[in-house]
């Protein structure tokens, strides 16, 4: 999963961490505050981004180790054990998937997902590949090639980019980002997967700490069904869905200069009822299929909508539906109340 979009930074000085509420118990994670600007937060726990390329420069490298030393109960001992090891097993470089004509779309998706799983989910706290969501698609595809070249653990956003790259050219398959914002124990969590659509069915590709919040088979009849499946999975981890953002289909041409449209439709799950959400998602799915939607680079930016309609300002003012939605927003009758906060005091956050 990702945190908020990291601010741009130029320096990579080693982290100086001040620790608050730190516990070394086996069931605990503790929140860290950094004296300098953070790269991002993953449900209250900071993470860093490698911007130095490969090999990773010494300041980024040292920062990674300082960070994990603060997180792990064995701290510096664990760090020293690995860094000073004279022999470390060589993790095999997984073979890059190659498409064969005999493969079905589902087979290919399984192959791509298997490849991403072989890279592993990145638990180190340092994201190795910088992904700027506003970058042109062609630039992000270059990063995907780097991910394959360097063969390192990845997180959810990197998996989306890699998934796009590895499914480029499969024109019967459409890909689009699905972003989730959830709440757990007073913290916000962000996650993103790559929604896929083929021949009337929806599924997903992705990477997550949780097995049921990443890939989904191409069996869901509607986009609403797919998102409902994710919501159900989130509930198992006591996460309450706050927002869902659905993007537009990503072009198959890897040389396209336009950026990915990440949030064409933004649904406030805490305000919309389950049925309304499903209706909006299904409408968006139909519109995408009919290819009548244009990215925000081709029109004015899309604001968050509770109803999903893109109305001109004049229509918006006069729309009874919009008024109803606004009234509905103010009332608590359709608002989904967040689950009670976890009462566990040792600070562990179920991150996605």
């Amino acid at each position: 999963m990702t945190g908020p979009t990291p601010p741009s930074r130029t320096g990579t000085s080693p982290a100086k961490l001040s620790r608050h509420g730190r516990s070394r118990s086996s069931g605990s994670l503790y929140l860290l505050r950094c004296s300098r600007q953070e790269d991002g937060k993953d449900g209250g726990v900071q993470f860093y981004v490698n911007r130095s390329g490969f090999p990773i420069d010494s300041s980024t490298w040292d920062r990674m180790w300082t960070h994990v030393a603060a997180l792990h109960p064995e701290g510096q001992e664990m760090v020293t054990r690995i860094r000073n090891a004279s022999y470390l097993p060589k993790h095999p470089v997984p073979a890059v998937p190659t498409f064969r004509a005999s493969m079905s779309v589902s087979d290919w998706l399984l192959t791509v997902q298997k490849y991403m799983k072989a890279l592993q989910y990145n638990h180190t706290g340092t994201q190795f590949f910088e992904i700027k969501k506003s970058r042109p698609l062609c630039g992000l595809m270059e990063t995907a090639r780097e991910m394959i070249r360097e063969s390192l653990p990845i997180k959810c956003l990197e998996a989306v980019i890699l998934g796009i790259y590895l499914t480029n050219g499969m024109t019967s398959l459409e890909r689009f980002p699905i972003s989730f914002k959830t709440h757990f124990s007073g913290h916000c969590f962000h996650h993103v997967v790559l929604g896929v659509y083929c021949n009337g069915r929806y599924g997903s590709l992705g990477m997550s700490r949780r097995q049921d919040l990443m890939d989904k088979p191409l069996t869901h009849r509607t986009l609403g069904d797919l998102v409902a499946e994710f919501e159900s999975s989130y509930q198992k981890y006591q996460h309450t869905l706050a927002k869902v953002k659905i993007g537009l289909y990503v072009p198959h041409d890897p040389h396209v200069f336009q950026p990915i449209e990440w949030k064409y439709l933004v649904l406030n799950a805490s305000r919309l009822g389950a049925e309304d959400m499903k209706k909006e998602l299904e409408k968006h799915g139909r519109d995408m299929k009919m290819k009548i939607l244009k990215s925000s680079s081709a029109q004015s930016p899309i604001k968050e909508r509770s109803r999903g309609k893109s109305l001109s300002p004049r229509r918006r003012q006069g729309s009874a539906q919009q008024l109803l939605v606004r009234r509905r927003d103010k009332s608590s009758s359709v608002e989904r109340r967040p689950a009670e906060l976890s009462t566990l005091s040792d600070g562990y956050q179920i991150r996605i």
Binding site: F54, P55, H72, M78, L152, L344
Partner: protein, 74 residues
């Protein structure tokens, strides 16, 4: 009697020729590339060793959390 030279007016023959900066040879570049490759391999090995440890930690913490929640529920 030797007159001291006027500052700024040195004889042409004593003009120092600029020293040639040695450009990296093909061999140097090859060695540098090889060293970088070795460093990358070592970093990759350490990253995966670290990731194994941190994945296990996350799993332990998650299981402990679930047990705690279960016992609280009971």
């Amino acid at each position: 009697m030797i007159k001291s030279p006027i500052p700024g007016m040195e004889p042409a023959c004593r003009k120092d020729k600029p020293k040639l900066i040695s450009t990296p040879t093909r061999g140097d570049r090859g060695r540098q590339k090889s060293a970088q490759q070795e460093l990358k391999q070592r970093q990759r090995a350490e990253i995966y060793a670290l990731n194994k440890v941190m994945t296990e930690l996350e799993q332990q913490q998650f299981e402990a959390f679930c047990k705690q929640m279960q016992s609280q529920g009971e």
